[in-house]
């Protein structure tokens, strides 16, 4: 095991008991120091997450089984009534608001974008800088070409997307990796915001189909979308 592999393991499974890992730590002072820091962090993290329930939880569970699946809650009952009332008011307000503003849910393209990002989260960690030649070659499969600067590209590949092919790239943003999906066969009616599971970004209609720019941290996604639009030309 080399230092890079060791550091990677400290971020993914710091308490691993792998023999090679332990041996490396015994022989590399720098990694051993890093491991000490990682283990200290793990200890603090674990301590901060351990939370004790209200006393008597186990007894309540055992009693609930005896009472045949009636959960024994320590909650005050009138909250149920209040919650019911709040739910009625909330739903009527939500429906009223939705109808008045013509709000609709995210499109199938937006939902597929998030699913694809979640399915391939590991590519956010890729760090092979993709050359202009490599990108050009990839884009040529889509009758597109690189005509400007995209900045640093950490990952680029052809992906299956909604039964078609799409360009999946990870650009280096100002604060971290940013996912860019160019979907030539997935048209979209209007620009949509994505804000789900800690990810935010935009999916916008383009001449060739649609484009998504999404990050799991604050990034100027509109600026990046503009950069991608200018840097890639489509023969359509």
């Amino acid at each position: 095991m080399n230092c890079l592999e060791c550091r990677r393991l400290l971020m993914t499974e710091p308490l691993d008991r792998d023999v090679d890992f332990r041996h490396h730590l015994d022989t590399c002072e720098v990694c051993a120091r890093e491991a000490e820091r990682a283990w200290e962090f793990e200890g603090k993290l674990r301590d901060s997450l351990i939370t004790a329930p209200q006393p008597g939880l186990e007894e309540r569970i055992l009693l609930a089984r005896l009472l045949k699946r009636q959960r024994i809650s320590s909650r005050i009952m009138h909250w149920s009534l209040a919650a019911g009332l709040a739910l009625s008011l909330g739903l009527s307000g939500w429906f009223g608001h939705g109808l008045m503003n013509g709000v609709s849910g995210p499109s199938a393209v937006s939902m597929a974008v998030m699913e694809h990002i979640q399915d391939e989260l590991d590519v956010l960690e890729k760090r092979y800088p993709i050359t202009s030649e490599g990108l050009g070659q990839l884009l040529s499969h889509f009758d597109a070409r690189l005509t400007g600067d995209l900045g640093r590209v950490n990952f680029a590949d052809r992906c299956n997307f909604m039964h078609t092919k799409a360009v999946h790239m990870v650009l280096q943003g100002e604060h971290g990796p940013v996912t860019v999906l160019m979907m030539p066969d997935s048209p979209l009616e209007r620009l949509e915001q994505i804000d789900r599971d800690g990810f935010s970004g935009i999916v916008l209609p383009t001449k060739y189909g649609s484009l998504a720019v999404v990050a799991d941290h604050p990034e100027p996604v509109h600026v990046l979308a503009h950069r991608v639009q200018r840097a890639v030309s489509w023969e359509i």
Partner: protein, 170 residues
């Protein structure tokens, strides 16, 4: 596995605490966390006979809890929260240090996709491969998630530390 009263009691007493910590980490509401743990064990009792042996029992309990949390989340996402209810959601016992508070807050700011596998690893002690099986992901994907989660937590802690230093100086 045979369903016996004694066996069930051992199961509850062995795992209720750790499952509660995991549930609380997922939902940050002590009442909901308790409901999730109760429901997990009640469902486990119902299907205990489907488990062949003790191996994998913990992972099975965590999976039931995760599914129940997802079900509750879907149910509650349409509800309006009573603000009075929020006053009493803090758990009774936890590490009360400032650092732990900052860590817990930082963890809550993580995307669900990162928080869940990290909680499974840190609290459940599962390996990336085991978590991949539980979440129906590839091990590479899980590694990326926990790695990014840790990096983000460290960054958030560093930022918080720097802000505190500035406050102290001024």
């Amino acid at each position: 596995m045979e369903r016996t009263k004694q066996g069930f009691e051992v199961l509850v007493r062995s795992h209720a605490g750790e499952l509660y910590s995991f549930a609380y980490g997922m939902c940050r509401d002590n009442h909901l966390a308790e409901d999730l743990v109760q429901e997990t064990f009640l469902r486990a009792w119902k299907h205990l006979h489907t488990q062949r042996d003790h191996h994998g029992l913990r992972a099975w309990l965590y999976t039931i809890l995760r599914n129940e949390h997802a079900r509750q989340y879907r149910k509650r996402s349409n509800e309006t929260i009573d603000l009075d209810e929020l006053k009493v959601v803090a758990p009774k016992v936890f590490d009360a240090s400032t650092e732990a508070f900052v860590l817990r807050r930082a963890l809550q700011s993580l995307p669900d996709a990162y928080r869940e596998p990290l909680l499974l690893q840190v609290l459940g002690g599962f390996s990336c491969t085991e978590i991949a099986g539980m979440l129906d992901l590839t091990p590479d994907n899980v590694m990326a998630r926990v790695s990014r989660a840790r990096r983000k937590l460290r960054d958030l802690l560093r930022t918080e530390g720097e802000e505190n230093s500035i406050r102290e100086i001024s």
